[in-house]
């Protein structure tokens, strides 16, 4: 179970102004801006749930994911994931979660995918029999048999994403964070990724938290959505209740307009 309670997070960034004179001035003096990334964020996610975490760019989605995956420490508030505080016992925590960043690869670029898997096996200390079983299962489900021997850099985006999914699941995590997993994929790959995630959740009861801009992802994968804007949770509820039977893209656009984000 994941709980977040009154989580706040602010950043300080150096202001950079354009212009020659400004550049000269900033050589001696620099201004800082404080950006509130998360403002009293609270929610609970049960085991085995699938949640779509949506909101415009810069709303605080990736800050939340980073806190939940132990990368960031919040300024205040409480957060536990299966009883663990992510940033306090990082190593123990991350051994039980999987993270996919859609825009960044976790595979070793120049070696065959299978070599990356083998290395991940050692990184996560996956027992040989568990590894073999997971690898075989994932290879079949994601149709990887023919691309396992190909270096990652030679894969198409869709092939690569399938490998990324497999890579993040080799150690049988209970929770999977997906940060824009379908970005830039073609229609066939998108459908394959969505179907796989649904199946994973159904068969392994893996909790899935998904951020995306693609509302078809949400529609296909999750029941529940959490809408975040300007660091605040604006809406948390069942997708069918919110959109009724209408077009989901339109519903979300209306939500954004209604909350002025």
């Amino acid at each position: 179970m994941i709980t977040m309670k009154n989580i706040c997070k602010t950043y300080r960034t150096a202001r950079r102004n354009a212009g020659f004179g400004e550049a000269l001035r900033s050589f001696f003096h620099r201004d800082y801006d404080t950006v509130t990334a998360l403002d009293n964020v609270s929610f609970t996610i049960e085991d085995g749930e699938t949640v779509g975490y949506i909101g415009p760019n810069g709303a605080g989605k990736s800050t939340t994911i980073k806190i939940l995956s132990g990368i960031l420490t919040p300024d205040s508030g409480e957060c536990t994931v299966d009883g663990r505080v992510p940033w306090k016992n990082r190593i123990e925590h991350v051994a039980n979660i999987g993270v996919v960043f859609g825009q960044r690869s976790q595979l070793w670029w120049d070696v065959p995918v299978i070599d990356s898997f083998e290395l991940l096996k050692d990184i996560y200390s996956i027992p040989p029999e568990v590894y073999r079983q997971n690898k075989d299962e994932l290879t079949e489900l994601l149709d990887l048999a023919e691309i396992l021997r190909t270096p990652a850099r030679q894969l198409s985006l869709g092939q690569r994403m399938r490998c990324e999914l497999a890579a993040s699941l080799l150690h049988s995590p209970n929770i999977l964070f997906l940060d824009e997993p379908t970005i830039g994929l073609d229609a066939v790959s998108k459908i394959a990724v969505r179907e796989f995630i649904v199946r994973l959740n159904r068969e392994r009861k893996t909790t899935v938290i998904l951020t995306t801009h693609d509302m078809q992802d949400i529609e296909a994968i999750t029941k529940r959505i959490i809408l975040i804007g300007k660091g605040k949770i604006l809406l948390d509820g069942d997708i069918s209740e919110i959109s009724g039977s209408g077009d989901i893209d339109r519903t979300v656009a209306e939500l954004y307009r209604a909350y002025e984000i």
Binding site: R16, G19, F20, A23, L24, S26, F27
Partner: protein
């Protein structure tokens, strides 16, 4: 005429942009200045130790050497062959060069101006702090002023000539990379050769006399060797005039050669389609 001014304006604005960019990264600039300062200091310390061990074998006055080294550190950006434009190399490697060819500018002139702007903006940003510190150091590390104003004027002229030689040599390397299988290898070999022969590893007067004579005729010696030795007073009078004449000679030869290679490289591209 108006075309000339329009173009010059473009180069000036490019220079200003580079300068502003350099200022933005203030910590980087400070770090660079500090690095160069320590470098100069250590370099002089080594020579001081050699000087103390055997001062009779020292080929120039010690304060001349100190000035030589400080000037070298201050104007590093003008003469280092490592500072090549990665953008140019990349555009050659990945074939984006074809887009550059579509612009109504001579590619040789454009790259040349860009390199000059880059080098001068970098050097200007860094020379003032290094030099002002070097003038206030205790002996024997202190930098000296040139003996007379004429020497200083010659130094400036020789420095501009030296930078032009550096840039035109680099231009030849850019152009040659159209023809080689390994631009990276070419670049390494060129930079290492230059480093040794232009007097960065040790100043040219420290080589044995016979080797020195040959080195001084090569274009590499027309880069920083001439201005730095003029400034420190190591060469003067007729000797300095001859050296500067040789610099001018190399400027003409090297730019002509560069333009020639540029033309055949462009032919190669248009024939092969990049």
């Amino acid at each position: 005429m108006s075309k000339f001014f329009a173009r010059r304006k473009r180069y000036v604005s490019f220079f200003k942009l580079r300068f502003a960019m350099g200022l933005q990264y203030r910590t980087a600039a400070l770090a660079g200045i500090m690095t160069q300062f320590v470098w100069g200091f250590m370099e002089i310390s080594v020579f001081r130790a050699f000087h103390q061990s055997n001062s009779a074998a020292f080929p120039m006055g010690f304060e001349q050497l100190a000035s030589y080294i400080w000037m070298q550190q201050a104007f590093l950006a003008l003469f280092m062959t490592w500072f090549m434009e990665n953008e140019i190399f990349d555009s050659i490697m990945d074939g984006n060069i074809c887009y550059e060819l579509c612009r109504p500018i001579d590619i040789y002139d454009m790259w040349f101006a860009r390199s000059v702007a880059n080098r001068t903006s970098r050097a200007l940003l860094r020379c003032i702090p290094v030099l002002s510190a070097a003038f206030f150091l205790p002996q024997p590390y202190r930098m000296i002023l040139p003996p007379d104003p004429l020497t200083f004027i010659c130094f400036i002229a020789a420095m501009l000539l030296g930078m032009t030689v550096t840039v035109s040599l680099c231009m030849i390397i850019y152009m040659l990379s159209f023809f080689t299988v390994s631009p990276q290898g070419l670049r390494i070999i060129f930079a290492m050769t230059a480093e040794l022969l232009q007097g960065i590893v040790i100043p040219i007067p420290f080589f044995p006399p016979r080797i020195q004579k040959i080195m001084e005729l090569l274009p590499f010696a027309s880069m920083e060797n001439v201005p730095l030795r003029i400034y420190s007073g190591n060469i003067s009078g007729m000797e300095a005039a001859k050296a500067m004449l040789l610099q001018a000679f190399w400027v003409i030869i090297l730019t002509a050669a560069g333009k020639l290679i540029c033309r055949s490289a462009m032919n190669k591209i248009t024939v092969q389609g990049g």
